[in-house]
Amino acid sequence: MNLHSEPIRLLAFLVGIIAFAALNAAYLVWLERKVAGHVQRRIGPKEVGPFGLLQPLVDGIKLMTKQVLIPDNIDPILFRLAPPLLLIPAVMSFVTIPFSETLVARDINLGLLMIFAFASINVLGILLGGWGSNNKYAVIAAARGVSQNVAYEIPMLITVITMVMITHTLNLNEIVRQQGGGIFNWYIFRWSANPLMLISFLIFFTCSLAETNRAPFDLGEAESELVAGYHTEYSGMGFGIFFMGEYANIVIGCSLATILFLGGWQCPFGLWPGVHWFLIKLYILIFTVILIRWTFPRTTIYGLLNLSWKVLIPFALFNLILTGAMIKIWPMIFP
């Protein structure tokens, strides 16, 4: 049997991706609780296993053994459809993520486009979950989630278009390859392409926080306002799948930021590129996301829309124009 045959390769990647998504969901909860604990000068989980490392396992078993309560007067199809709708696109997005030069499930040329196509499905999961549960809090949360996602997709996509103008490709692996040879070839420091690259990165990072419903933009599940938001009525593994989907989305968002701006699997010194560099950068970004959650209060819906329409979109548009101008003008000055 040829181990390098395409079906076996795909199967291995499929299993690997699902395992990666599930393990990340489980251990990001652990990391989140540990970081939260130490930020608040507590310890966090510590009883189950060394440093509480088995805590996610126990939590998972608890969630799976719990009864999935289906309330009366709900829309039974939408209610059951919503959690997978949030999780599956997130897991699918991993298919095009290049963990290293060779470690990528499908190295397709439209990788970036595919991720954004999938990313826009997850808002459907939030909407259907909120709408299908026949709960006022959930409906409010669903409405918030949709307006938030619509508002933030615009600056995010404008930033991505800026990036595509610079990279001339939608292939994620190719984008990373262009950033080889040291930290100053990463797009975040590529001053020659656009002097405001750092701002582009911040816009992208903020937008990915908002897209993944993370604090301070977690309006969809604002627990002090809407109890548990769109998953108020979900219990057991229904809630568990929502949760996994959310963490998978965070990983996707941070992976994209790593690939587009921080040089993906490239080493900052130009030596030994590989999957470890990708993971280091990825987890530093995820750690930042977690730290943000445990530092800031939540914004309101109008604060969020104000930020999007009055700050992020103008800056992103300005960046787009500047980049376009740079691409045309730079070769004229230095032919």
Partner: protein, 372 residues
């Protein structure tokens, strides 16, 4: 916003906020008539933990009501102890030794700081920030330890007695208190950097939840709510009691009347309370802590008595009607949160749900005190 509030939109729904809801801090229920996320009408529904404290007072001796006062507002129980003790002392004409008065002031102000710290944490929690709560609790824990060493309890104190206090403080209480004040002074800039200056918080509190002085007057709101509307009314200055006239402190007022003003008033009050404690510790005289002539069985002369104190949430008043027996004829408690909550319906009209919750948080409600 006002256009939306006044428009004659028929598509409203009723949202039951509470009695079990994370933002109502207990068992308050608010019936909200909502138009989307805008509040058209808010109606607080009370009584979920009504315990008939006033009626209980009529069936007990004057002294036996003492533990009840600590259970009205569990966050600043000593102020409520103080209010009741003050009223009975006025009724029965008991003089309190000066040392006891100073001890009362020190412990009450410590309790006020701890109450404001809890409010600070819980308020930021309402706004979605988790960490400041734990930092505030870290500081509050020291106050609880200090008060526990003196009073024996951590939350529902029953420390004051008619004519003095239960027992004298120890010297290490004073050193511990001063060390705590030094620590909190060093921590305050951290709170301001982490929370007050945060742009998200400013955006959420500035020009949100407008409660003007006129509205406060209408509903009888007192305390930081009133001072946040620019009225410098504080019972400690308006109707001085205990040794407050001998102490130098300011009454922080902010004229804006929004959530930010109330937030700032409370944080400034923490600073002022620290000043009061420092002065009181320096001036603390020697002597007994219990009046020698305090009668064992209290029988105030027939009449109507009133005393008010500045609790952490506002003016707490106790009205006593005595028929000359060992039990009160009528005992009326005027609790500040009740009045402060009353204005919520009017103030929240036309607001968005998260803003209304910011307003509710900034009123600093303690539900057992509203329901009594």
């Amino acid at each position: 916003m006002s256009v939306l509030a006044s428009s004659d939109c028929k598509e409203t729904f009723v949202l039951n906020l509470g009695p079990q809801h994370p933002a109502t801090h207990g068992v308050l229920r608010v019936k909200l008539t909502m138009d989307g996320e805008y509040i058209r009408h808010a109606e607080p529904v009370l009584g979920y933990i009504h315990r008939m404290h006033e009626k209980m007072g009529e069936n007990r001796t004057w002294a036996q009501f003492m533990p009840n006062t600590g259970r009205l507002d569990y966050l600043s129980a000593l102020s409520y102890n103080h209010g009741y003790v003050l009223a009975v002392e006025r009724a029965a004409g008991i003089a309190v030794p000066e040392r006891a008065e100073y001890i009362r002031v020190i412990t009450v102000e410590l309790n006020r700081i701890s109450s404001h710290l809890v409010w600070f944490g819980a308020f930021i929690l309402d706004l979605g920030g988790f960490t400041p709560l734990l930092y505030a609790f870290d500081d509050r824990e020291i106050i609880l330890d200090l008060l526990q060493a003196v009073t024996g309890s951590r939350l529902t104190y029953c420390y004051f007695r008619f004519g003095g206090v239960y027992n004298d403080i120890e010297p290490d209480f004073i050193t511990g208190t001063l060390a705590f004040i030094k620590r909190l002074r060093e921590r305050m800039p951290m709170y301001h950097n982490l929370v007050t200056k945060n742009i998200i918080l400013i955006k959420r509190l500035k020009d949100i939840g407008f409660v003007p002085a006129e509205m406060c007057r209408k509903y009888g709101a007192t305390g930081p709510v009133l001072r946040g509307a620019g009225v410098g009314y504080d019972v400690r200055r308006a109707e001085p009691y205990s040794v407050y006239p001998e102490l130098d402190f300011d009454i922080p007022t902010y004229p804006e009347g929004d959530c930010m003003a109330r937030y700032m008033v409370r944080l400034d009050e923490i600073e002022q309370s620290m000043r009061i404690i420092e002065q009181a510790c320096a001036k603390l005289p020697d002597g007994p802590v219990m009046a020698e002539k305090a009668p064992k069985i209290i029988k105030p002369a027939k009449g109507d008595y009133y005393a008010a104190v500045e609790a952490a949430r506002g003016s707490f008043g106790v009205r006593l009607v005595s028929d000359g027996t060992t039990t009160p004829y009528r005992l009326k408690l005027r609790s500040p949160s009740y009045s402060n909550l009353s204005l919520f319906g009017e103030a929240s009209r036309g607001m968005l749900l998260p803003d209304a919750l910011a307003l509710m948080g900034s009123l600093d409600l303690v539900i057992p005190e509203i329901d009594r």
